[in-house]
């Protein structure tokens, strides 16, 4: 039985990978098809996540882990039927903001409800003020889709399609993406059905228990090996108009780890607030990657990571607080948690990094009134590791990819003039922080462009650890030198471009302890300029 369960567990993991691939191949927004801002997973009939595609981002996957239970309650399991497909973009029941559409499909086998497939993707527009932090309540951020049926026994909900068509700026892409989400669950359920046939099983109940119990036990064993301790950390970040304090206390117990976010700032007037579901997702991810990374991610392995946050803080903001850019704060949660965890288990976690994805969106308007929305995802540097440098221009903790420049330029009349590594932005240290990157963007001739920066780490760059220096801070400016804050929305004057410098990761350990050959290599490759090498490392050519 054990061998068979093991085999079927692997099968479920391969099924959700297929599910994710189907989504990428059928999606319309570049955020989904090029950048992989999506997740896909399978759930048992109690709503427990059993497997997730690795193609995905923790904020989706771990938030979606709780989503299916909401669908079961709101739709009512007794009303579910074959051919049904459900949808929502509720930030508190889905994955944290209105741009994420979550689709859940129940799986029936021989007439019985046996499982669910769920998937989430970030669509390019959802109406309202457009993607950005400017909204002052959820009502300004776009169309809200409660948990409803996208398809009722196979029949697509035409009313929803009509609503989307008039409420979004890029209706073809948004509607196309919802079809793609439904299609990928369809691929998953066909495959699960054939697995049940092959093994002659009526359901996956025993398999689900096996997966959840084995994962839970393995995680608890890893936790049991940790020292029992309690440690706190605070980290100040840019915020919108005023800085935001993130604070947490991590405490290890014999069979679980608890993170509490008491001490965080109150919700912000602008859309950088975080629904609790998203806070839990990234706090659990941070602990899991540090403590039990090899255990597959599912309901069993996530349960021993317990998270709490007082209500009415920025990490537990309730409706109707605006939440559009919840990731800008949410992506900084792992660095907050690592700062505390490092005091419990030293030399395990990295220094602070860029954290938040370096995203921006542009709206373009042509001479004949034609409009276009272009969203890009980019990354700064990750924090230095105890024995390794940080990663250059690589997303962490998010799992998304950047879009190819050529694909972005096909998505709208935009020109990316520069996208390359940013020398001297990695914090100096015995191990160096990862480099950020430079970008420069402008409209094609004849188009007017509005730019929306969704950045952080400008006033408060990534801090080093153990004597390591901070990473380079974010810069947003026009080509004439006019500076803007990290979160901003502005028209780009004709003939100008927007120049961006994305942040580097913090260093770790005293720079004087860095291997001189590593410094020489950094200089040869141009990661560190000669001047900086002399200043920070005492390097001589």
């Amino acid at each position: 039985m054990s061998v068979q369960n093991q085999i079927m567990w692997n099968r479920l993991i391969s099924i959700v990978e297929e599910q994710a691939q189907a989504l990428i191949r059928t999606a319309f927004s570049t955020s989904v098809r090029e950048a992989g801002d999506l997740s896909a997973g399978i759930y048992d009939r109690r709503g427990r996540m059993l497997a997730q595609a690795v193609t995905g981002t923790p904020g989706h996957v771990n938030a979606m882990a709780a989503a299916v239970a909401h669908f079961m309650r709101e739709i009512g399991t007794d009303t579910m039927a074959e051919g049904d497909v459900y949808v929502t973009n509720d930030p508190w029941m889905g994955t944290g903001h209105l741009h994420d559409i979550t689709v859940v499909t129940p799986v029936f086998h021989k007439g019985q409800l046996v499982a669910y497939f769920a998937c989430t993707a970030h669509v390019v527009d959802i109406g309202g003020r457009g993607f950005g932090a400017d909204g002052e309540s959820i009502y300004e951020e776009g169309l809200q889709i409660p948990i409803i049926r996208f398809a009722d026994k196979g029949e697509v909900n035409k009313t929803l399609i009509q609503m989307l068509r008039v409420n979004t700026r890029e209706p073809d892409q948004v509607i196309g993406d919802i079809y793609a989400l439904a299609a990928c669950n369809e691929v998953g359920l066909r495959r699960l059905g054939s697995m049940l046939d092959e093994y002659g099983l009526p359901d996956i109940e025993a398999l689900a228990d096996f997966i959840v119990d084995a994962s839970h036990d393995a995680t608890v064993q890893a936790i049991a090996r940790l020292p029992r301790a309690k440690a706190s950390n605070t980290m100040t970040t840019d915020g919108y108009a005023t800085p935001i304090v993130l604070a947490c206390t991590v405490e290890t117990h014999p069979d679980h780890v608890h993170v509490d976010f008491t001490g965080c700032s109150a919700p912000d007037p602008k859309g950088i607030n975080v629904p609790f579901i998203y806070t839990v997702a990234y706090a659990a991810y941070a602990l899991k990657i540090a403590i039990a990374p090899e255990v597959p991610n599912n309901a069993g392995s996530l349960a021993p990571f317990r998270v709490s946050a007082p209500e009415n803080t920025i990490v537990n903001a309730k409706r109707p607080h605006p939440v559009s850019l919840r990731h800008v704060i949410g992506h900084l949660i792992p660095d907050t948690v690592f700062g505390a965890f490092d005091q419990i288990v030293p030399d395990m976690v990295p220094a602070e990094g860029a954290g938040a994805l370096c995203n921006f969106q542009v709206s373009l308007r042509g001479p004949n009134g034609e409009r276009s929305e272009v969203l890009t995802f980019n990354s700064g540097g990750t924090g230095a590791r105890p024995t390794l440098d940080g990663l250059n221009a690589t997303a962490f903790p998010s799992g998304v990819m950047t879009m190819p420049v050529e694909a972005t330029e096909h998505a709208g009349p935009v020109v990316i003039h520069r996208k390359e590594l940013r020398p001297d932005s990695g914090g100096a240290g015995q191990s160096r922080g990862g480099l950020g990157q430079f970008m420069e963007v402008g409209p094609r001739d004849g188009f007017a462009m509005e730019f929306r920066a969704q950045l952080d780490r400008m006033k408060f760059p990534a801090r080093g650890r153990k004597g390591g220096a901070p990473g380079g801070p974010t810069v947003v400016q026009l080509s004439d030198g006019t500076q803007y804050p990290a979160k901003a929305r502005f028209q780009v004057p004709e003939g100008q471009t927007v120049q961006l410098a994305f942040p580097g990761g913090g260093g770790m350990g005293e720079p004087s302890q860095r291997d001189l050959q590593a410094v020489a290599r950094d200089v040869r490759l141009g990661y560190v300029s000669e001047e900086a090498a002399k200043r920070d490392y005492g390097w001589e050519a």
């Binding site: 098809r33 073809d172 691929v187 250059n392 050529e406 020109v415 003039h417 520069r418």
Partner: protein
């Protein structure tokens, strides 16, 4: 051409396989690969097979060659001193990759080093936009100035943004460098891989530039050494897409050779499929370190447009370098006879991708290997004969296999060696089955009505169980499976795919333009094939890559002859919508459809396959008793053992059964029946 004498040569990691086909007979040999001068092994092998056939190299009519040399140079980073010239502002495209982590749960992740280090990457001020318009012209003087810095490089890759739309700037660089540095090898991204997405295109071009000087020199030496031996016939190279190209084209675009060996295997399987009239085949090639799985429809292996080479992190997707070239679309996973098993922290048995290789080899070899490999599990489960492995040249030690299984698996999970071996075997079989399923689903195929064709040393041991897992009811094991790829080279047609990126929406469809694009492509592809063979009949087939406007990935839509000659909006829409719904459940309503890439493949017809006649006799063979482990029951069963030569045309036997031969053992599971066929194939079926 009854007096043809064709030579197939496959250089692999360990062996160089040489096959000579003449007068309807095959002569083959395996010689050790000679890394310092790979042509040495070819000449040695050629002499051996010519001697066996009693003919001189001077009468050879053609030589078809495939090799992993280019792949190995990329994996081992043993290429030329190479520079990259790219658009100003984009120096780091090949280093920044997709800006993501291919493994989400490893804080100490190390990304693969770019093929060309940062200090060897140079930029020029130039720019073309997404509409193919020049935003900033390229100044010849800038190229001349850059040429000064390129002294000391052997090879250069040139990759500019949007050059797949407008190659002018890249060509200007080539022109200037040819004047200034005539000895520098130059590869343009607009030639090597003219497709959108800069990371894949640039990386493919860098890979081409990186192996080009070495491959050019090797192919030149090979041609002259062969000529010295009297073999002056044309030499062709197998490419990763399953066709063959001239030695000159291969030297220009060596990156197209990367998967030529496994491609030969797929062609081999396609040929067996044709002889047996099987239109849906899953080829399964399992060797010492990896297993390759490929779908073959209508005797043609599936092809794809991108491939990942040199995966650096446990074969994990994303940890290698993407190469966008036409390839036979196969999945390759770290599952072979030498793949090692262990128990992870979840108390789960894991197998591969780490391999015992040939040294020390599986524990059973008795050469110091202490960890259990898949072959050890096979031995303990009675599937391998300890005294007759590899023709008796390598004695196997079941006691060492048992000890290794006990130490690494059994003691940790409280299982005896047989149960442990069963676990290892099931895990590796399931890994392969999963890979096959994912591959099938990605292609919208259901494997239940497929026939499996198995070859490679370890495949016949595992193919039966794989069929059970995949619901496949028929399995063929051809003879000569050990040199399958080299035989496959001899079966490949002369083929060339001409492609063009032209966006056209169906709601603004221009039939006349469409017709002329397709006929131009047919002309271009045919001209190439004509250059290989001036007299052969040439067949062409067209396909369009189509999608809903706004999607990033297309699906291939094959056009029949009528539609190619007379393309219409309505017919194309119907074809696309049908194919899309078959793949993804439902078509999307109300969105425009567009064509992105047009492709026409020209090829010579495959040599007429000699159909294998249905078996006439129906004798039953009786073997000697042999105990075999039955994985379905999870227990030992009484079976039998029969030498392969006893299974002549029409002779049958029932599983559980081990068919023994010099190279390997074919396992026929309980419930399956094996029948010998006239062409030496073992035809294994599950009745009903």
């Amino acid at each position: 051409m009854t007096d043809s004498a064709n030579l197939g040569v496959d250089i692999g990691g360990t062996f160089t396989d040489v096959v000579l086909e003449t007068g309807g007979r095959l002569f083959s040999t395996k010689v050790l690969t000679t890394y310092a001068a790979p042509e040495d092994a070819i000449l040695d092998g050629m002499r051996q097979v010519c001697r066996k056939a009693g003919l001189s190299p001077s009468v050879l009519t053609r030589i078809i060659h495939g090799t992993t040399l280019a792949t190995n140079a990329l994996i081992e980073r043993r290429g030329a001193r190479t520079a990259l010239i790219t658009t100003e502002g984009f120096r780091d495209v090949i280093e920044m990759r997709t800006e993501s982590r291919f493994e989400q749960y490893d804080l100490n992740l190390v990304l693969p080093e770019p093929l060309i280090p940062r200090d060897h990457r140079f930029t020029l001020k130039e720019r073309v936009d997404a509409g193919g318009n020049v935003l900033h012209p390229l100044d010849r003087a800038d190229i001349e100035a850059l040429a000064e810095k390129l002294q000391g490089f052997d090879s250069v890759a040139v990759g500019f943004l949007h050059s797949y739309l407008r190659p002018d700037h890249e060509r200007l660089v080539r022109e200037v460098l040819a004047e200034k540095l005539p000895n520098l090898s130059v590869s343009l991204s607009s030639d090597v891989s003219p497709q959108m997405r800069e990371y894949e295109r640039f990386n493919t071009t860098c890979a081409n530039a990186y192996v080009k000087p070495m491959m050019e020199s090797y192919l030149g030496r090979l041609a002259s050494r062969l000529a010295d031996e009297g073999a002056t016939c044309p030499i062709f190279l197998m490419h990763s897409g399953g066709g063959i190209v001239s030695i000159e084209t291969a030297a220009q675009y060596p990156v197209r050779l990367v998967e030529s060996g496994p491609a030969g295997g797929a062609i081999f399987a396609a040929d067996v499929a044709r002889r047996h009239g099987l239109d849906k085949v899953l080829s399964f090639d399992m060797g010492g370190t990896t297993a390759k799985i490929c779908l073959i429809r209508d005797f043609t292996p599936k092809t794809a447009r991108v491939f990942e080479v040199a995966r650096s992190y446990r074969f994990k997707k994303g940890s290698g370098m993407p190469i966008s070239i036409p390839v036979i679309d196969m999945v390759e996973i770290g599952a072979g006879g030498g793949s090692l098993a262990h128990v992870d922290s979840m108390r789960q048995i894991r197998v591969g991708p780490e391999s015992a290789g040939s040294e020390p080899g599986p524990a059973a070899y008795g050469r110091g290997g202490l960890r259990p490999a898949v072959s050890d599990a096979d031995l303990v489960l009675g599937r391998l004969d300890p005294d007759n492995f590899a023709g008796g040249t390598i004695p196997l030690h079941p006691d060492r296999s048992e000890a290794a299984l006990r130490a690494e698996v059994g003691d940790r999970l409280g299982m005896d060696p047989v149960q442990s071996a069963f676990g290892v075997s099931e895990v590796v079989d399931e890994n392969m089955a999963n890979a096959a399923r994912v591959h099938a689903v990605e292609n919208g195929e259901d494997l239940a009505d497929y026939t499996m064709i198995a070859f490679g040393g370890a495949a016949p041991l595992h193919a039966g169980r794989l069929c059970e897992k995949l619901g496949i009811t028929r399995l063929l094991v051809p003879p000569g499976a050990g040199v399958g790829s080299a035989i496959g080279f001899l079966r490949a047609p002369y083929a060339f795919e001409a492609t063009r990126s032209v966006y056209m929406r169906l709601d603004a469809f221009d039939g006349a333009t469409a017709k002329s694009i397709l006929s131009d492509l047919a002309e271009e592809a045919s001209a190439f094939v004509r250059s290989c063979d001036a007299h052969a009949t040439i067949l062409t087939d067209a396909k369009l890559f189509m999608r809903y406007k706004g999607q990033g990935w297309e699906i291939p839509v094959a056009l029949d002859a009528d539609l190619t000659a007379n393309p219409t909006t309505e017919a194309l829409r119907d074809r696309f919508t049908q194919d899309y719904a078959a793949l993804f459940g439902r078509a999307v309503e109300g969105l425009p459809i567009e064509i992105t890439v047009w492709a026409v493949n020209a090829s010579t017809p495959l040599a007429a396959a000699q159909p294998t006649p249905d078996a006439t006799a129906s004798d039953r063979a009786e073997g000697t008793p042999r105990r075999l482990f039955d994985p379905v029951a999870g227990a030992w069963a009484d079976g039998q053992s029969i030498p392969r030569e006893r299974l002549t045309d029409g002779t049958m036997a029932d599983g559980p059964l081990a068919v023994t031969e010099a190279e390997t053992t074919v396992i026929v599971p309980r419930g399956f029946t094996v029948t010998g066929r006239a062409d030496g194939v073992l035809d294994i079926r599950r009745p009903g």
